[in-house]
Amino acid sequence: MKKNYSIIGVILLSLLLAGCAGTQSRNTDPENDPWEGYNRKVFAFNNGLDKVVRPIAVGYDKIMPDPFQRGVGNFFRNLDAPVTYVNQVLQGKFKESVSTIGRFLVNSTVGILGFFDVATKWGMPYYNEDLGQTLATWGYDNSRYLMIPFFGPSTFRDGTGRLADSFYHPVGWAIHNKGRWGYFIVRGIDTRARYLDQDAELNDAYDPYVLMRDVWMQNRTYQIYDGDPPMLDYDLYLEDDPEAEEPATTGGQ
């Protein structure tokens, strides 16, 4: 029964934060982010958490020599293979799914538990799929932005997908079935360390919340389209006149 506590914890915390969201009036993107008030609370909560996590990530980044850090990154990336495989099959990407099995076998053995990415050198490219992307290719292509406590930017679709994927992801499996959080914590620190270079940029932004949302949403679209999203409609940026904008704003609230 232990396994459900973590999920219940995150959901309870989300509800708690939603409870204090009432005073927030700003809405910068009613279409994609109707829960902005709540999301900003979670963003602030995660930033508070980062006061503890960041120094650990900085220390880790200093202590770990680059090749080791790359190895840890490879190790966790290799553990994503089962989730990628299942979702490639669900999306009908059979050829790619064979490559994912090949990669997992090669990197787990020759690549010593995944620390070395031998498979890429052997011509088996890395793919990344998850249930959120599968649902998007099945037609659930617009989902509202959702900040999740501890995990950060997501959408309702991708957060739900992530939860479902976690039941057969090795790191999630260790938590759900064995109550082992070690891998999850190390992965969190390793991931945080990767984003240290971007901290200054985020902190100097006019609206850090919007910057994080923008970057995450655009990159997510890019993943869903496997690196080949349709070109942006730049003309829309020029034709942006104030009269056309008003009904959209009122309609979204």
């Binding site: 910068t28 680059d66 790359r70 990415d117 100097d204 932004a205 006019y206 609206d207 919007v210 910057l211 923008d214 970057v215 655009q218 990159n219 997510r220 679209t221 890019y222 993943q223 690196g227 999203p229 070109m231 942006l232 730049y234 940026y237 020029l238 942006d240 006149d241 104030p242 904008e245």
Partner: protein, 205 residues
Amino acid sequence: MKVRILLLLAVASIFSGGLFAQTQAADPVSLVEDITGKIFTDVTENLEEYTANPETLDELVRRDLMPLLDIKYAARLILGRAGRGLGKEKIDEFADCMSNLLISRYSKGLLYFSSEIKLNVLPQRGDLNEKLTRVRTRVTLPEGGEAPVDYAFHKTPEGWKAFDVVFEGISYVTTYRNQIMPEVQANGIDSVIERLNSGQMQLAE
């Protein structure tokens, strides 16, 4: 002696004029290949000098990369509805500010990736009769792996020019727009230009 120098200058200007005409006709893919290839070679060969004097690298980028870009168009896209009612000079001032920011960032990126930089320009897709196109490139990272960097081009009277850079799906124009448009609306264009200029000075130190 003076005549020879003048003659040399004249020849040089004809030559560069010829190059310019060639650039005009060039398709976006060859533009990216030629210009970035030239810049990368220069940086690789003179890395020590550029590391010691980053300003000289800024100059190189300004001279070689800027003619490829349509910063004024990018500035208009970024300002969006916040650009309405602003005078042409203000928009130009903002565009200059964006150029400086971009040059300083690009130079920093060049030094960061230094000698290991490798660029692979993917072949053109679709036909060039459209007014918009995308050039897709892959930059090989020093730590292994590739970073996808795309350039959005549009047709101008002076030929194809890039106006957006898209890194792993993240468009500079979109991202800047969503920061700068509300900031201009809240604080005014002058305050934004001032802030961007001061930020750039900080970065240069």
